[in-house]
Amino acid sequence: MKQISNMSRRSFLLRSAAVGGGLLLEVTLPKSSVAEAEQVSAQAETSPEVTAWVLIRPDDTIIIRVARVEMGQGNFTGLPMLVAEELACDWSKVQAEYASTSEHLRRNRIFRTMLTGGSRSIRDSQEYLRTAGAAARLMLTSAAARRWDVPVAECVAANSIITHTPTQRQVSFGAVAAEAATLDIPENPPLKDPADWTILGQPAQRFDIPDKVTGKTAFAIDTRLPGMVYAAIAQCPVFGGSLKSVDAEKIADMRGVVKVVPLEDAVVVVAKESWWNAQQALRALPIEWDFGEHAQVSSDSILEFLREGIQLEKAPVSRQEGDIDSAFASAATTIEADYYAPYLEHATMEPQNCTALYTEQRVDVWAPAQNSEATAAVTAETADVPVSRVEVHKVHLGGGFGRRGLYIEFVRQAVRIAKTMPGTPVQLIWSREEDIQHGRYRPVALVRMRAALNASGEPTAWSVRQAEQSIFSAVRPHLIRDGVDIVGVRTFADAPYAFPNMHMEYAMRNTHVPPGPWRAVAHTHNPFFRESFIDELAHAAGQDPYQFRRTLLQTPQASKDLAILDAVAEAAEWDSPLPEGVHRGIAVQDSYGSYTAAVIEASVNGAGELTIHRVVTGIDCGYVANPDSVRAQLEGSVVYGLTAALYGEITIKAGRVEQSNFHDYQMMRLAEMPTVEVILKPTGGFWGGAGEPGMAPLAPALCNAIFAATGKRIRSLPLKNHDLRPA
């Protein structure tokens, strides 16, 4: 086993305590922050840091640090479970705390990454967190062995107690933690066999829930600092436009108004006492915009632009297998269909906001951001200070869904305002209207698919032409290869179906509407296209849609798709009779390293009213940290996914978003909830994601049920735009 020196870590702790404390006193932060900092440093003295991830107090309290952020998915509990399993500690004595962003940066990114997204928290950190737990356990047992002067091999740790097996002497983790902290960190400690896990795989109560039911949880928007002022913002309604002028005099006398801050593409009103004052003054503020060059763009013109992408003679190829031309030439049946999906906005329940305090010495920010390291970088750049002078205070997020990972313009805005008023904390809050109209939207997409069936009804060829906006061309150029957005083509380019001949093309169609990753990213609209079209083929072949999929999933690489499809079909009793008028739809999809399928039961009455009766949704994510959190993610996906299928639509008129709040950007509510049955089928051997995969099969399973009920094939979303009355 390799050893790495622990010396730098020790000396770092001493240094940072001194420097950190000194800095805090110089800055004269608000009293609460000073008290908080003193409390933290007092705790640090009595809570030895065994490794960066694990602190153990003399009273045996175990503190496990969390680098990623909790936005509802349960990682504030699931991530500590990974550490605790290998630490062999008493789970009832574990507490979670966020790892400090500034410490992370000072200590050479010791917490690996602070990005939360892509359903990656558990699967990307499981190895190093389990390793951290195992290393800490070895250090604790070594410290006990030294104390007893016995070979470490004779000592075992379980439930926070170390036992010297021959003599049955015992000592608790807390009693040896300080000694353990002086030992070198073993680099490659052996990990447990998953069969021996006692914490992982068992449902655990989440750490964050008790404070969420009493209102004690302080989200970023709940930050309260002495002397804090509030900021309301209006951004140019047309994307790409700019601020021409404002008449600040007009609102100068309104209650609480401190000042008006013009930005290039927005204007901010700062007011004392309450955000209400700032927002009221903003509403009264005469603003002139230069709408720029996109003020004529509409959803119709965008659709026309997509159609041109479909009609292009050639487009970059995302997949090529076999020879589709000869397959189509000899086809008994050819099926062709165009599918469309609109822009969607995330609508996190906590609107975008950021609180910033700029002083000559440092900049503090509180923001609902999915990546605190990026937040620190954006803050430093905006404030024009070294990142070492930035403190990002980590808080739970009131929803994320991809909105606040790559794009944290609200941080930039708040820091800019704060820099104009050093020493005064500023809380910027976007109204819901700003949130809906200045999102980073799930891209619009139009797809043309063709397929060939031979005389026996067997599929022989599949061609796909995607015409859609690329999320990543502007921000992650390495994800664009030969003109293909490699994330945007997922579901097609990696489809597990065994068509002997396939040809797929991708026509990038970027508009002025800013795109962004929306929960499940390409796996929201692409599965709707693909799994609806597969249903069309089954129908054309005169086959049962479940059995038709089974036939196409017989290759070894499709075995996990097949298994989850079978598990869900069985749980849903696919072949059993249903009450009159109720029909089933099915879909399967792999994404984010996991395998999902869903069966939905729905009916449509004579008036065209849709009722969703039952959703059976299943996942194989390999190993599971906290099964109850995975279950909750699938339940939640049903609401997020079906809301999009039923109502979700952002439309563009005169270059701007037409919707503005929940009256015209409608959400599913409790009364519409079907029965939801979650099927967890973790087969082990790999770690898949859980936050997003559950989204994929929902819209197609629902639309396939609607087809079974009405004979109407839904080729565009949302459903609210369709007349579902039986023909």
Partner: protein, 157 residues
Amino acid sequence: MISLTVNGTEHSVDVGSDMRLLWVLRDILGLTGTKFGCGMSLCGACTVHLDGEPVRSCVMPVSIAAGKKITTIEGLSTDGGHPLQQAWIAHQVPQCGYCQTGMIMSAAALLKKNPQPTDTDINESVTNICRCGTYVRVRAAIHTAAQKSGSNDGMKG
């Protein structure tokens, strides 16, 4: 000055009479458990009780609340011991949690009036928006709390 009774405590606040109750609670009194979600009475994140009735505080001028008994999530129980809060933990209802205090306040108003609500009663009364999609567990937790308080002979608060 406007006089308000919030969670049993009297406050005098010097604000404009049209300031919405939500912002008085959050920004003037520091009771941040009540949330801003839409500002148009659409989502229910701002739900509080006014003389026991659930109201959406984001559209209610503070002058209307003057002289009435206001209860926020901070006043629903002193220790998180309200049967709904306990049921919420037992069912592990919240995900991000942002909408949950408003959701609990809506449910609490329902149970006070109707200690044994049916699914239809719940559908009609708890119309709050949750983007994380906790509805299945919200419903289950309300039924659990109703059963508990039923066996304890009635719910207070």
